[in-house]
């Protein structure tokens, strides 16, 4: 049995999945002031009377770090950045305790200017005096040579609770994003550590000795222990959980648009032959652009509870939510109320919905039914426009080789999978408005928790080799090796695979589940004075997001379909 648990903004969903079905599911309100409490309450709901040894594992997706970042509830953290020449590092400031220090590494990883130990020692005393315990250290091009970050860390010594190096978090280039990523990971560390401890201790108290995994923004899992090192990876795992929950029902042959229609927002993602599309650089959250590996998701401010009003004679839906629909006691009319007026939903106070819609109808000069239809269509159209914009954005991403440009691969989804609260109603309308095949994800109410439960471990390794300098380096893996001039891209890929395998197993993956693939494999001949002097090799390998291998049986029987035949509940 597997437990999947997704802490959302308003509800926490949890499922207990057996060999062939959802054994239990529950929804408890999210208590934002104490997330652990609701995690615990939810776990309690589904594990009651279940022998602990029958639970293989639990996968949690939490909004803890996301909320901490959006609400700015982060620990006082110092950033030490070593920019060398280039853009003014002051422009990249993330916090009050932000210090620009000397030292410079160039694009090939050569030391141009050493760091100044005296400067760092002085800084270290100052930070200690101010009671700062969390420090992020970031150098420009540290992923090509982490020497300076490590030297600075060594001078800082053991006198800080946590010293985090930029080069360990991602192998991608972008000094500003490295600074933001390091800052966020360091600044949410304490709050995450509190959560981590509470989970561990409670499980122990309850005698539940089950491995806990945490869902990441890229739709993969990592062990609870591994998450303590990079808690920032857990941001935006909520949208990722929903996308993963839709995976088994997506087409293997086509591209799929996933719409998670929530109360306030609709989150969108793209699946290509059942594999979610990743953001090429990293996600954005709360104004921070990061290197955190994540699914390519796009969010628009339209959902079932979006506020509906009339502005200058025009209908305006969202962004923003004043509360639930009026049918459920909310203060302002919403698209959900429109559904009540149309008689599509009736488990609430339809009269309240009508009362809410009346002024809208009057302002628009329409009948109540007309305006309800209008509101509903408008919301659907906004979602479709948002989707079109996301697809255009993905397709306009520049490429850097003649071959790629001429091939001109374009994402063109043929089907839409809808999940989230008002999914069935929206699916019906979306199908009428477009040429897409529109399906509702079965069990859409808990698809997010199912997605968390079934997600498998993911990971990425970046390797950089320069045979002229005689080095191969995978900074995220603390890997550095001297190489000879015969080292080539095949050696580099083999080495990167080896590193990836070790990393995944350390993070709790099962070796047989590892489906590794190459994301980037480029080799440039380096020519100096008309002679080839070496090879510059860049490799990126990954384990892509997907379902644990048992998923086929679970998904098939859970939703009563044979594995060969996909069975979405079609709403036309």
């Amino acid at each position: 049995m597997i437990i999947g648990l997704d802490v959302g903004g308003t509800h926490t969903d949890v499922v207990l999945i057996g060999q062939d079905c959802i054994l239990r599911q529950a929804k408890v309100p999210t208590n934002t002031s104490n997330l652990f409490d609701c995690v615990w309450a939810a776990l309690d709901e589904v594990t009651r009377d279940v022998p602990p040894e029958e639970i293989e594992r639990a996968v949690l997706s939490t909004t803890l770090t996301t909320n901490a970042i959006i609400e700015g509830k982060m620990e006082k953290t110092a950033m030490i950045v070593s920019p060398g020449p280039g853009i003014d590092a002051e422009l990249l400031r993330t916090c009050t305790h932000y210090f620009i220090v000397s030292g410079s590494i160039d694009h090939r990883g050569r030391e141009i200017q050493p760091i100044n130990p005296v400067e760092i020692e002085g800084l270290s005393s100052k930070l200690k005096a101010e009671g700062i315990e969390h420090v992020g250290v970031v150098g420009k091009f540290s992923v090509r040579n982490p020497k300076h970050e490590i030297q600075i860390g060594e001078i800082l010594g053991d006198s800080f609770t946590n010293v985090l190096y930029g080069h360990r978090l991602s192998g991608n280039l972008s000094f500003p994003r490295r600074i933001a990523t390091t800052y966020l990971n360091a600044a949410v560390h304490p709050i995450y550590k509190g959560f981590f401890k509470a989970v561990k201790e409670s499980l122990k108290k309850k005698g539940l000795n089950i491995p806990i995994y945490i869902l990441k923004a890229d739709g993969g899992t990592m062990s609870l222990e591994a998450s303590l090192f990079c808690p920032g990876e857990t941001i935006l795992s909520g949208p990722a959980a929903s996308v993963m929950g839709s995976l088994p029902f997506a087409s293997l042959e086509e591209e799929t648009l996933v719409l998670d229609i929530g109360g306030t927002t609709t989150d969108m993602a793209i699946l290509i032959h059942r594999v979610p599309l990743l953001d090429p650089v990293g996600c954005e959250l709360g104004g921070y652009k990061t290197l955190i590996r994540s699914l390519k998701t796009y969010s628009i401010g339209v959902g079932g509870d979006s506020t509906v009003r009339v502005l200058d004679g025009k209908l305006k839906i969202g962004p923003g939510r004043d509360g639930p629909a009026m049918a459920y006691g909310g203060p302002t009319p919403t698209p959900t109320d429109a559904l009540f007026v149309l008689g599509k939903i009736n488990n609430g106070d339809a009269q309240a919905s009508q009362r809410g819609m009346e002024p809208i109808a009057a302002a628009m000069g329409m009948t109540l039914e007309e305006v309800a239809n209008e509101v509903f269509d408008h919301a659907c159209q906004m979602i479709l426009n948002g989707a079109a914009k996301m697809i255009e954005d993905i397709n306009s991403k520049p490429v850097y080789t003649v071959q790629e440009l001429l091939e001109g691969y374009q994402v063109q989804p043929q089907e839409i999978l809808v999940l989230g609260g008002p999914a069935p109603y929206f699916a019906f309308r979306l199908a009428a408005l477009t040429d897409f095949q529109v399906h509702v994800v079965p069990q859409w109410q808990v698809a997010n928790a199912v997605g968390a439960a079934l997600a498998k471990n993911t990971s990425e390794v970046t390797l950089f080799a320069d045979t002229e300098r005689g080095i191969a380096i995978a900074p995220g893996e603390k890997f550095y090796r001297q190489i000879d001039k015969n080292f080539d891209r095949n050696d580099a890929v083999a080495l990167a695979y080896e590193l990836l395998k070790n990393k995944c197993i350390k993070e709790g993956a099962v070796e047989s589940e590892l489906e590794m693939e190459v994301l980037e494999n480029v080799q440039f001949n380096m020519v100096r004075d008309f002679y080839t002097t070496g090879r510059n090799i860049r490799i990126k390998v990954q384990v892509k997001p997907g379902m644990v291998s048992e998923y086929k049986d679970i998904a098939a029987s859970m939703f009563h379909v044979s594995p060969s035949q996909k069975m979405p509940e079609k709403m036309r």
């Binding site: 853009i87 003014d88 160039d106 694009h107 500003p176 306009s396 003649v402 440009l405 480029v522």
Partner: protein, 438 residues
């Protein structure tokens, strides 16, 4: 989030899978370190710096500018169409006012490609700036254009294409032709009879440094542009004036290039040459992007930048001053010369040899230009190569009068096809391109 004052478009196309040959300077690796630097600095994440995917230029775009012999696909590859297309994309974004300025960081380059193309010269097959400019003239009715070529080599291709066009001000700033390929670009090369003075050559002595370049900019280039009043300023932003460039002898720097860009304020910059791929290009390109976007670039510098060490001598400064004085003389003489030549209304011939160093082809040309009171006049080029290709090319300029247009067609229809492999007509008044062949 970081944002910039001036909205700036960027096409970055390093053509990581294309090279002239494995160890040629124009090879896959050329923009690799520039990409690393631009990515690491995070420039593409800045609000107001927008990266675009390059469009492919079309054969029709090429035919507005060139006579390709025997045909387009024999002298170009897809990568040339992408490179020209990248420039075109930036041009369109600027004229659509989606951005204020733009930079096409593309390869292969194009400024040595002349109007007639038999092959590659100076690593160039087709002229990417000219293809962009003529497209913009056709699509957006842009009229007066200034092209400032800051590549270290004389932009002889662009000069050739605009030699007879009084509406295009071509200024080339380069290392003295007596000391560097292609060996042209002297002050007295100041345009054809109908366009005398709108070609400006500024040959600078070797070892000219920041002071010399900026002196030239302030005392010649900017005043001339100010007089000319262009609708559009294009910068052929070659980067081989750098003190570390392996095939030139100048002492310019990333700071200097950025400052030049800040003062010149080009609407569109297009990368040309520059082969110091590790120690110059990453820093110059970052500097140019930041300067275009109106950012503070004072901290952008090469690892080994020591301004004192590359400073030009007093002697060099003197030479630069003299060159600038000569240039301003030419600029003043131009209008009178043009008037006189056009009033004469006669045929001007020039015979010359063009060597295609990259493809090892020798071409001999007899060019004939007929001056006209009402327009810049019809151009005909009789071109023959040592490979045995012999063609006649007729060019009717964009603003040709009816009489000259008629004349162009008469020359095209009347030529004896037995003497040529092909006869071409480029009618810019109707955006037409015709070919007669055996």
């Amino acid at each position: 989030m970081l944002s910039v004052k001036t909205k700036t478009g960027l096409v970055f196309f390093p053509a990581f899978d294309w090279a002239i040959s494995a160890t040629h300077p124009e090879r896959e690796e050329r923009l690799l370190y520039t990409q690393d630097q631009v990515f690491e600095e995070g420039l593409l994440d800045i609000d107001g710096i927008i990266e675009y995917k390059p469009d492919l230029a079309t054969i029709q775009d090429v035919r507005r500018v060139h006579f390709c012999v025997p045909d387009e696909w024999s002298v170009l590859t897809e990568s040339h169409l992408i490179s020209a297309g990248g420039a075109k994309t930036i041009g369109m974004q600027v004229l659509e006012k989606n951005v204020e300025r733009g930079f096409a960081l593309v390869r292969p380059p194009g400024h040595h490609a002349m109007r007639v193309v038999h092959g590659a010269r100076g690593f160039c097959n087709i002229n990417i700036e000219a293809i962009m400019v003529e497209y913009l003239r056709e699509a957006y009715k842009v009229d007066r254009v200034a092209i400032v070529d800051t590549d270290c080599h004389h932009g002889d291709g662009t000069q050739d294409i605009y030699w007879h066009d009084p509406d295009t001000l071509f200024i080339s700033l380069h290392q003295d032709g007596r000391t560097l390929y292609p060996g042209t670009g002297f002050g007295y090369e100041m345009g054809g009879p109908s366009a005398a003075g709108t070609t400006i050559n500024i040959p600078l002595p070797p070892q000219t440094s920041e002071e010399g370049f900026l002196y030239t900019l302030d005392n010649a280039i900017l005043p001339i542009i100010n007089d000319f009043k262009p609708d559009l300023i294009v910068n052929s932003a070659g980067q081989d004036n750098h003190y570390t460039d392996p095939i030139t002898n100048m002492n310019f720097s990333a700071q200097g290039y950025a400052e030049l860009t800040r003062r010149l304020k080009p609407h569109i910059a297009v990368l040309e040459g520059g082969y110091s791929i590790e120690t110059a290009l990453p820093y110059i390109n970052v500097g140019i992007i930041m300067a275009l976007a109106g950012m503070d670039f004072s901290k952008v510098r090469e690892p080994d930048y020591r301004p004192q060490r590359i400073r030009q001598t007093a002697d060099t400064a003197e030479q630069v001053k003299r060159v600038v004085a000569d240039v301003m003389d030419c600029w003043e003489k131009g209008p009178r010369l043009r008037e006189r030549n056009r009033a004469e209304k006669k045929s001007h011939k020039r015979e010359r040899a063009v060597f295609y160093d990259t493809d090892n082809i020798l071409e001999t040309q007899m060019e004939e230009q007929r001056t006209c009171r009402d327009c810049s006049g019809v151009l005909s080029i009789d071109s023959e190569t040592d490979r045995g290709h012999h063609v006649l090319a007729i060019h009717i300029p964009r603003k040709a009068c009816n009489e000259c247009r008629e004349l162009g067609y008469q020359l095209y229809d009347g030529a004896n096809l037995r003497s040529y492999h092909q006869i071409f007509l480029q009618d810019r008044t109707h955006d037409q391109y015709l070919v007669r062949r055996n």
